[in-house]
């Protein structure tokens, strides 16, 4: 993975595969605390404590059909966070869901860029019409806080039976995300 937003996409796919119906994503860029925090919270099937531990091992995958038991998504994300004096925490409860919190030291030389957050979110939202996304982007900088909130449940309600892949809807979501990312200065993080 070349950037944090690709890891984020990978994590969102995990949540979707765990049958989540609601996925909350928070990206918090806190300049005074020199921290970039990503939180992904889902209401999927969740994991027991053993599975939770195994999920952080590169030689574990939940994919039964896989011949070679390798699952690198979570271990690589963890490694990339820890390489920046950051931390990686996962908490889960079977039947309730999973919360993942990943911290990066913002100005650490080894921190990978946040990357194209817009394409990650756009693809995830449209590619998973069965999931409602609640997104929050927050930047704390120079005593100011700027935030962007995007809730796809409200959009789907307004659209009724019009699919998210309808051309004008793609354009709408793309533009909304772009504005939100610009307003919270998340473009070149």
């Amino acid at each position: 993975m070349q950037d944090i937003s690709l890891h984020l996409l990978d994590i969102i796919e995990n949540s979707a595969r765990a049958n989540a119906r609601n996925i909350k994503v928070r990206v918090i860029r806190n300049v005074p605390q020199n921290r970039l925090r990503i939180i992904v919270e889902d209401d999927g099937v969740g994991m027991d404590s053993h599975t939770l531990e195994m999920a952080q091992s590169p030689f574990y995958t939940s994919k039964e059909e896989r011949e070679k038991k390798v699952g690198l998504g979570i271990p690589l994300f963890k490694q990339n966070a820890e390489a920046t004096n950051g931390c990686f925490k996962m908490a889960s409860e079977p039947g309730f869901g999973t919360v993942l919190t990943v911290d990066f030291e913002l100005d650490h030389i080894d921190r990978m860029p946040l990357g194209n957050l817009k394409d990650t979110l756009l693809g995830a939202i449209i590619g998973h019409p069965e999931v409602d996304f609640d997104l929050n982007l927050i930047t704390k900088e120079k005593g100011l806080e700027q935030s962007f909130h995007f809730d796809t449940a409200a959009i789907k309600e307004e659209l009724g039976d019009i699919p998210l892949t309808y051309p004008d809807v793609i354009e709408y979501i793309d533009q909304s995300l772009l504005e939100g990312i610009q307003n919270t200065n998340m473009e070149d993080v």
Binding site: M1, L6, L9, D10, E13, A16, R17, K63, E65, R66, E67, G71, L72, G73, N116, D119, T120, L122, G123, A124, I126, G127, H128, P129, A154, I155, E158, L159, G160, D161, I162, P163, T165, Y166, P167, D168, V169, I170, E171, Y172, D174, Q175, S176, E179
Partner: protein, 121 residues
């Protein structure tokens, strides 16, 4: 600033169109978005499909994302599913290949055999 009122206009327009052509989904596109797919560029593939749908105003296709299915060496992988036809799986996809698949397969109905890695189930 985009508002929910904009969505209402979109919905009215879309509903008019659906009345005219029946609102059927003709082709379903499924982009493999497992870890290896993402690492190989599946997000860009997804993005290009969405751009093409938007630019060409294709109202009868659906795009979704799924996990990987054991074709890791050919990622990014995309399935095209049409009613009454065998499923076509394209592999090693790139943004340029997506554009070609949209023109040839989705618009003109001709499978791009050079990119096909599997057909059927």
């Amino acid at each position: 600033m985009k508002t929910l009122a904009d969505l209402k206009k979109i919905r009215e327009k879309a509903q008019e169109e659906m009345k005219l052509r029946g609102g059927n989904v003709r082709i379903k596109i499924v982009v493999g978005m497992g870890t290896s797919g993402i690492a190989m560029g599946a997000r860009e593939v997804m993005k290009t499909f969405l751009e093409e749908i938007s630019n060409r105003n294709l109202t009868d296709v659906l795009v979704t994302q799924t996990g990987e299915k054991g074709l890791s060496s050919m990622e990014p992988v995309v399935d095209l599913i049409e009613d009454g036809k065998p499923k076509v799986t394209y592999g090693n996809m790139t943004s340029d290949k997506v554009k070609k698949v949209v023109v040839e397969h989705i618009v003109n109905g001709r499978v791009v055999s050079d990119y096909v890695v599997a057909t059927g189930n």
